[in-house]
């Protein structure tokens, strides 16, 4: 079964001339790691946010785990889909443990299991629970904060994870190691990951398949290898060529 299905999905913002997302069709398989690649304003974040209804689509249908999302309560939908954003958005007045527990509470998890689950999640994102459980977000580095952001999104074991430029605000060195860890995290659990990025290397390194978007259109949706060897059009070709010199590009192969 497909984890996410986009069927003729469109979005046009008020007062905008063109579609932000223009008739996008795509099937994302269960357990797949898909990255959405495009420049800012190409509609990639809009497409992602329509998936958990932070933005409502205008036309077309989106199906998540076999259910048409418009038929679900948006709050309930978001509780069962992991969501990570670039700004991280940890709650500054709560400890690291409380930041994760808040989501468990929304999912009505039994309170006596909190500690075990929180510790497990922190370990999963390579943070020592004893060191971090009781600290506040402001005492953590950006990279550590985003690990907590990931742990919070993973709470409740969502089948689908949506990540909006999760490493966009993180320094280059930390970003590299976190990308690898994210890949490992995905391989361990085989959840469906959908990650938005404007970084070509990140998109090709992480994605089993890559959606290339421009001006609201989905130009190509294929494996990195196919996109490199057979770019769908001039735009994709230029994009691929612009990253030729990149070391990542070869690391993968």
């Amino acid at each position: 079964m497909d984890a996410i299905v986009y069927n003729n999905v469109c979005k046009k913002y008020k007062n905008a001339k063109a579609y932000a997302v223009d008739h996008v069709n795509a099937n994302i398989h269960e357990g797949e790691f898909v990255t959405i690649l495009g420049a800012s304003g190409c509609g990639k974040t809009t497409l992602l946010k329509m998936t958990n209804r932070l933005i409502e689509s205008d036309e077309g249908t989106i199906t998540v785990s076999g259910k048409e999302i418009k038929s679900l309560d948006p709050v309930e939908l978001r509780r069962h889909v992991g969501y990570v954003i670039q700004q991280i958005g940890l709650f500054p007045h709560m400890t690291i443990a409380q930041n994760i527990e808040v989501r468990l509470e929304l999912l009505h998890v039994d309170k006596k299991n909190y500690k075990e689950i929180v510790d497990g999640l922190l370990r999963k994102v390579a943070l020592n629970p004893d060191d971090f459980r009781d600290r506040y977000p402001s005492q953590l580095s950006g990279g550590q904060q985003q690990r907590v952001g990931l742990a919070r999104a993973l709470a409740g074991n969502p089948k689908v994870m949506l990540l909006d430029e999760p490493f966009g605000a993180i320094d280059a060195i930390t970003r590299r190691s976190m990308q690898k860890e994210l890949k490992r995290l995905h391989e361990e659990n085989k959840r469906t990951f959908l990650l938005v990025t404007h970084d070509i290397d990140e998109a090709f390194l992480l994605g089993d398949r890559v959606m290339v978007m421009n001006e609201g259109h989905l130009l190509q949706f294929d494996t990195p290898e196919t996109i490199i060897d057979h770019p769908a059009d001039e735009f994709v070709k230029t994009l691929v060529e612009s990253s030729r010199e990149s070391s990542y590009f070869y690391m993968r192969g």
């Binding site: 932070l54 709050v75 969501y83 700004q87 709650f91 500054p92 007045h93 952001g149």
Partner: protein, 202 residues
């Protein structure tokens, strides 16, 4: 001064108690109404501009004029005073409440929404705790303003510390004036301090 207090304690203590009563009742009613209206303004952002305009106009009416304006409707006395003071407080409270909540970092609110909190959960678990300073600033402002404007309410027979001031002026009784000034200022400082303690406990 002390001698006056010892000779006629009721002349000073009764107005003080009346004043505290006026302030506490006004504050409780103001908070209930302002919380409700702020909630509406947050849920329906278009209302925010409406409330803002309405209560700015009311707030700009001088207090004595508004007291007098209300007399034909609700008569002389404490009720009129409470209504007027509550109206003034709406401006201070709603403005501080809504701006405080709206100023919470949007990415934190988006994260809260993204992990599946509904409107009230975002409000109570995230926005209110993070806007605490601004919320309490509004309440403290309302308290101090109520204590101050409340003295003028004596002119419409609402009692309170204003009676000391007005009577003192009329009869040139300096003792009354001193006590009136001292107690209204003292009350404002004490209430302000108490609210700071409550804020830190929250």
């Amino acid at each position: 001064m002390w001698e006056y207090l010892q000779r006629r304690p009721e002349k000073i203590l009764v107005p003080l108690i009346e004043h505290i009563e006026l302030v506490v009742i006004t504050l409780v009613i103001s908070l209930v109404i302002a919380s409700f209206l702020s909630l509406l303004a947050l849920r329906f952002p278009k209302l925010q501009a409406v409330f803002d305009r309405l209560f700015t106009i009311i707030y700009s009416i001088p207090s004595l004029a508004l007291f007098v304006l209300m007399i034909p409707v609700t008569g002389l006395g404490q009720t009129t005073a409470i209504i007027v003071l509550t109206l003034y407080n709406q401006y201070l409270l709603i403005k501080n409440f809504t701006t405080g909540i709206n100023e919470v970092d949007p990415s934190i609110v988006e994260a809260a929404k993204g992990i599946g909190m509904d409107f009230f959960q975002i409000l109570t678990k995230v926005q209110i705790p993070l806007a605490k300073r601004s919320l309490f600033a509004g309440i403290r402002l309302a308290v101090v303003s109520t204590i101050g404007i409340g003295t003028i309410a004596a002119s419409i027979n609402a009692g309170g510390l204003g009676t000391l001031l007005f009577d003192g002026l009329r009869t040139m009784n300096l003792n009354k004036i001193y006590w009136g000034v001292l107690l209204s200022a003292g009350l404002a400082i004490v209430m302000n301090g108490l609210l700071k303690v409550v804020e830190n406990k929250c």
